[in-house]
Symmetry: C2
Subunit: 146 residues, 2 copies
């Protein structure tokens, strides 16, 4: 049975070391075994599996409480499959929404950056005031859309 240091566990799970300690502290993963002399954490392969799952969920913006539920259900197997699916589809919807919003923002940012660019080059008299007015309009548009 291979035991991993927190550094190894961090690399393989792609979670930072403080995050690993944090997840243990709040009980998202069970207490990790310690080295007797040094008191340092030693992770088992089993722990790594758990971390892998948590890392995925986190990457998708799943909140701590949902992670907790998901982990608990994982142990139950088939009987809790429905709830697992619900958690995931709920987040899939959130992400779809988020993508749509970001795409609006992106268009806005590009338009606006273009404006400052024109202003930077200073395209003639009256340009300054006109650009300023367009800025305000764009901001208002964005406020309505967001």
């Amino acid at each position: 049975m291979t035991l991993l240091t927190i550094q190894n566990a961090s690399q393989r799970s792609r979670l930072s070391e403080p995050t690993l300690r944090y997840y243990e502290e709040i009980g998202l993963i069970g207490p990790i075994a310690r080295d007797e002399r040094s008191g340092h954490r030693r992770y088992r392969e089993q722990d790594l599996d758990d971390l892998q799952v948590l890392a995925c969920l986190r990457a998708m913006g799943v909140g701590i409480e949902d992670m907790r539920t998901y982990q608990a259900n994982r142990a139950k197997g088939r009987s809790a499959a429905g709830e697992q699916r619900d958690i995931l589809t709920r987040h899939a919807k959130r992400i779809e929404q988020e993508i749509a919003t970001l795409q609006v923002h992106l268009r806005y940012l590009e338009a606006k950056a273009g404006l400052w660019d024109a202003r930077d080059r200073g395209d003639g008299p009256g340009e300054e005031a006109a650009a300023s007015r367009v800025h305000v309009l764009l901001d208002q548009l964005e406020a309505v859309l967001s």
Copy 2:
């Protein structure tokens, strides 16, 4: 000159009341005038313009320090236009990246939700173990991609 309560300002800027107080506290917007008797905040149209801009920036994930810079530059007009454009294009890149990542996650979530769905219906003997194995593989894939 119309003066607005914090509630009105919140509605029109789409920033929560605590956020308005917070932005004032950290100096993102200048100190807001107060009603003499009650001590309640009274927002001017000028303040609303500032809030509008901040709301846009925030909606796009621009950090506080960049907001501060952006606001300061706004007052300078043409001379700081280059820096304004930089802030915006920098964030545009971030958002593009974010969209790409989210799209990967979305595909992953859908695949995974489908798996739990199959497991829920229980498609026969041996299915349980097989699904479990696929779960682990998917998690690893996601860990690499994210």
